[in-house]
């Protein structure tokens, strides 16, 4: 694919939740790969399975009721799904780290932030308490917290949301992971802070040469920062491609709809377009292509209503799961 090599590749991942109301197929047959040092974005509406995909990589899907029913997650040649719990602990935090959506609740309220960062450092890098503590101070400085020597001994409730997210990032990055999973890292923050946090992630990515799996529903964020993008809809990936060409020419009707519903610079007067209908519930997915009830092109098509399209490569580096891609294919 490129000279960088592939860090993580997911193949045919399916995660189901076995609830009393029935089987919720949260993730079905998801495949993608992340290159070293690149940012891969997973985009989709809430409930489409992007967070569950991220949790599966960490093997954190709550079980029961959740279960990874099939697929493989290969990280640097090892299938994470076959690792034992203790081997998995070596990976978590050390090789793959994660930032959560809610900075307000992601820090333990009874320990100071320094204590929490230092614990991860002590554990994974086998450093002494004092060394880990000074590393924690250094990390806080790195993530742009003013007066880190002072802040390091404060409790989470003494920090603002943006600062807490910075602390979370410091914690996640402190052991220099090769892959950072950022699950909607900016959703809970206000707009000015969002940009700062994303800039910080870019900066750290450059310093540590790590890959980022960015999970978001914010297309604006994706267009700017991601190298590659996968669009998820109702538990499946519907389109994958490098972000430039994907945004320039979306191929799947869902992606097209999403982009049309975004306000653009210089756009004024007219109402924004919306995609009619709403996201189907995981317990009651429509038959065939899951997007067909809302699709402007395929509603009447028998094939769309009965058969699920697979993700096919229609151009170099561009994959789409749609029956109506004939026109896009390069001859």
């Amino acid at each position: 694919m490129s000279e960088n090599g592939i860090l993580l590749s997911i193949g045919g991942l399916s995660v189901f939740f076995f609830t009393e109301e029935g089987v919720a197929k949260a993730v079905q047959d998801v495949s993608f790969s992340i290159e070293m040092g690149k940012t891969f974005a997973l985009v989709g509406e809430s409930g489409c399975g992007k967070s569950v995909t991220a949790l599966s990589i960490m093997r954190l899907v709550p079980a029961p009721p959740g279960k990874i029913v099939s697929g493989e997650i290969v990280f640097k040649g090892r299938n994470l799904l076959t690792l034992g719990e203790s081997q998995m602990r070596q990976v978590r935090g050390n090789k793959i780290a994660m930032i959560f959506q809610e900075p307000m609740t992601s820090l333990n309220p009874v320990y100071t932030v320094g204590n929490q960062i230092a614990e991860a450092i002590r554990l994974h890098q086998r450093k002494s308490t004092g060394q880990a503590w000074s590393d924690a101070v250094e990390m806080l400085g790195k993530v742009g917290i003013a007066d880190p020597a002072q802040r390091v001994s404060e409790y989470p409730h003494q920090l603002s949301g943006g600062m807490r997210q910075r602390v979370m990032i410091a914690m996640a990055v402190s052991c220099e992971p090769q892959l950072l999973i950022a699950d909607e890292p900016t959703t809970a923050l206000d707009v000015t802070i969002q940009a700062q946090i994303l800039d910080l992630l870019d900066e750290l990515q450059e310093q540590n040469r790590m890959s980022i799996l960015l999970i978001t529903h914010d297309l604006g964020v994706v267009a700017e920062r991601a190298d590659d993008v996968a669009v998820m809809y109702a538990s499946r990936i519907v389109e994958v491609g490098d972000s430039q060409s994907l945004f320039a020419e979306p191929l799947h009707p869902y992606t097209q709809g999403l982009l049309k519903s975004l306000p653009r610079l210089g756009f004024s007067g007219k109402r924004l377009q919306t995609i009619p209908g709403s996201v189907p519930e995981p317990l009651h997915f429509p038959s065939g292509c899951k997007f067909h009830p809302r699709c402007p092109t395929g509603c009447s098509d028998k094939k769309c209503q009965t058969m699920e399209p697979a993700l096919r490569e229609v151009r170099a580096g561009r994959c789409v799961a749609c029956w109506h891609t004939k026109g896009y294919e390069e001859k």
Partner: protein, 400 residues
């Protein structure tokens, strides 16, 4: 000093300090806490308050210190424990000012580990090396007959095991402030020494039950699912058994020693703690910071006991104070029924049972004073527990 207080204010207020502040807002809480502290002091200093050996006595021109010589290994153990606990409290108080909050928890934990190992090893050493003395000399009659002089007695100059049939079943009077029992022992003296039994039963039994309950509850709550299902059924079976009758049955099989009673009360009363911790952990394990801790690759031990337990321990601490009251009560009831510690070891429940003497007379002072002691102690622990609960979770108080 000013620098210190400045530093302190910039550190903010820790959770412990917040709870303490909230707790001391109510004068009643402070009052009952003082009652508990008073009971502790009485229990620790019992041999100096009530003893038939004099502090100091001159016999044939030579000075003796029989009281100090008579102290046994259990006395020294209690003194050691009291001194270490006091030192620990002072240290904790000092930590507040001169140790950064970030490492204060760790420092405190380390100090508590050191203190408890000092107590543990010290008690073993004391029991190995300090001999049990039995000084049966009747110093009082020696003084009365003029053989000895310069005697300094304890405020209550009677031993708890000393019988004197000449003064049996006396109502409270100038010599015996709270009267005497069926074998002529001083009631006040036995009350004072009995407080040791009550308090140690309360603390040791609750310590045992809390540890069992926390570990079982943590595992059930964290894993959930099948583990929880099986575990909770076992807990429910334990709860369905009337504990008091179970204890009576078990006690009947084992020698009547204090340690046995503590252990039996401890291993039969952990279900409440297990249920509290399980419920807390159910709530906590879905919290983001627990997920974050798991995603950092921390070991299960750290996640359960370092990250989750401090966030869910409050109900157990509160329950512990109620548990102490409960254990004291159970011990008193066991002793009352004759399953408790064997006489002459003084126990409040056992004294209470002497209220109706073999002759059928109702000896009111033998019922009233030990009964009052049990009542006050149990009440004090319950009210402090309630105050603590309100301080930890102010929402509860509003609801009540």
């Amino acid at each position: 000093m000013s620098r210190e207080s400045q530093k302190e204010s910039s550190w903010g207020v820790s959770y412990g300090q917040l709870v303490w502040r909230e707790f001391t807002k109510s004068r009643l809480n402070v009052f009952w806490l003082i009652v508990i502290i008073f009971l502790f002091i009485v229990a620790v200093l019992a041999p100096f308050l009530a003893n038939d050996k004099p502090f100091m006595i001159r016999i044939d021109g030579k000075l003796y210190f029989p009281l100090f010589r008579d102290l046994g290994p259990s006395d020294y153990s209690i003194f050691l424990a009291a001194v270490v606990v006091l030192a620990q409290l002072l240290l904790t108080w000092r930590n507040r000012k001169c140790i950064e909050p970030s490492i204060r928890g760790q420092v405190l934990w380390r100090q508590i580990c050191i203190s408890s190992s000092i107590i543990f090893i010290g008690v073993i050493l004391i029991f190995v090396f300090v001999p049990r003395r039995l000084d049966a000399t009747d110093y009082e009659s020696m003084v009365a007959s003029g053989k000895a002089s310069d005697a300094v007695f304890a405020p209550i100059p009677y031993g708890y095991a000393r019988t004197n049939l000449k003064v049996r079943e006396q109502t409270p009077n100038v010599e015996h402030w709270l009267g005497t029992d069926d074998v002529g022992s001083d009631v006040l003296c036995r009350l004072i020494h009995g407080s040791r039994i009550s308090l140690s039963v309360g603390f040791v039994a609750v310590g045992i039950s809390s540890v069992i309950g926390v570990v079982i509850g943590a595992i059930l709550g964290y894993f959930g699912g099948k583990v929880d299902f099986v575990g909770m059924r076992i807990v429910e079976i334990m709860m369905a058994i009337p504990v008091f009758f179970l204890i009576i049955t078990i006690v009947a099989f084992f020698p009547r020693s204090l340690l046995n009673i503590m252990i039996i009360i401890g291993i039969t009363s952990w279900t409440g703690d297990a249920r509290f911790i399980r419920a807390e952990f159910f709530k906590l394990r879905k919290q983001d910071f627990v997920q974050a801790a798991v995603s950092l690759g921390l070991p299960l031990r750290s996640i359960l006991f370092r990250h989750m337990l401090p966030n869910g321990i409050a109900p157990v601490l509160v329950n512990a104070t109620f548990g102490i009251a409960g254990a004291i009560f159970i011990e008193a009831a066991l002793s009352f029924l004759g399953f408790g510690v064997a006489p002459p070891t003084p126990s409040w429940g056992q004294m209470l049972s002497l209220g109706v003497s073999t002759t059928g007379r109702f000896l009111w002072w033998l019922t009233l004073f030990p009964g009052l002691a049990i009542f006050l102690t149990v009440l004090a622990y319950n009210l402090v527990g309630e105050g603590l609960r309100d301080a930890i979770d102010p929402r509860l108080r509003k609801a009540a």
